[in-house]
Symmetry: C2
Subunit: 129 residues, 2 copies
């Protein structure tokens, strides 16, 4: 086991007005989930007043979230997936295109990398079974 | 504007059996949201078969998520908040205690830091208004 999950953190700037439209944000989220080869369990999208949208998709493989600040042309997104068949980086690309971002920063964190102390302790337990 | 949001990434190992119980995970999430001084808009919790729980809380200030792997004693969490009155680090502490984690790694990412090129472009636009 190298890591249990992949967590892709996405910063999108220079976005179009679409990021202030809950229906269009939801559509982009659904396309992103599909591109990531993930399974949607539930989706929640909230439009704030006077502006801004938050969307969270619950996935069988973890989650995808979006929070937008239309006044800055900024959207924050993250995609967390587990399993070897998912492609969170493809979701990032779909969001970048859908939001017409002029500037994208995408970085990936490995999640669930077992610390050496925990590994030792588990090996010890198994040896004593 | 230095940054628009704070994104706290939480790795918890050596967790107790509570991380396989959807009701207890949900209770911990609600306590964590309260500790973070955030406002809960909606919450989803899903129990997987044969094991594992995913929970996502949609906040007025962004989101909190949890994904657990009871077979490894591991829980992945993240708390994204905006605004100056929220305390995402307090949510991390509540989750660590609730899940009885022996090992916790908590790191914070600044989200929504405007890239220099975008800043220049916005200044240029404003100067021409």
């Amino acid at each position: 086991m190298e890591h249990l999950g992949r967590h892709v953190i996405i910063e999108l700037w220079g976005c179009g007005e679409i990021i202030n439209d809950a229906a269009l944000v939801e559509r982009a989220m659904r396309q992103a989930v599909q591109a990531a080869n993930a399974t949607l369990l539930d989706i929640f999208v909230h439009e704030f007043s006077p502006q801004g949208v938050t969307g969270v998709a619950v996935l069988a493989e973890s989650h995808l979230s979006i929070h937008t600040w239309p006044e800055y042309g900024y959207a924050a997104a993250d995609v967390f997936t587990c399993g070897s068949t998912t492609r969170p980086e493809a979701a990032a690309e779909v969001l970048r295109e859908a939001f017409q971002a002029s500037n994208a920063d995408v970085r990936e964190l490995e999640r669930g990398v077992m610390p050496p102390s925990i590994k030792q302790s588990r090996l010890h337990e198994l040896a004593n079974v």
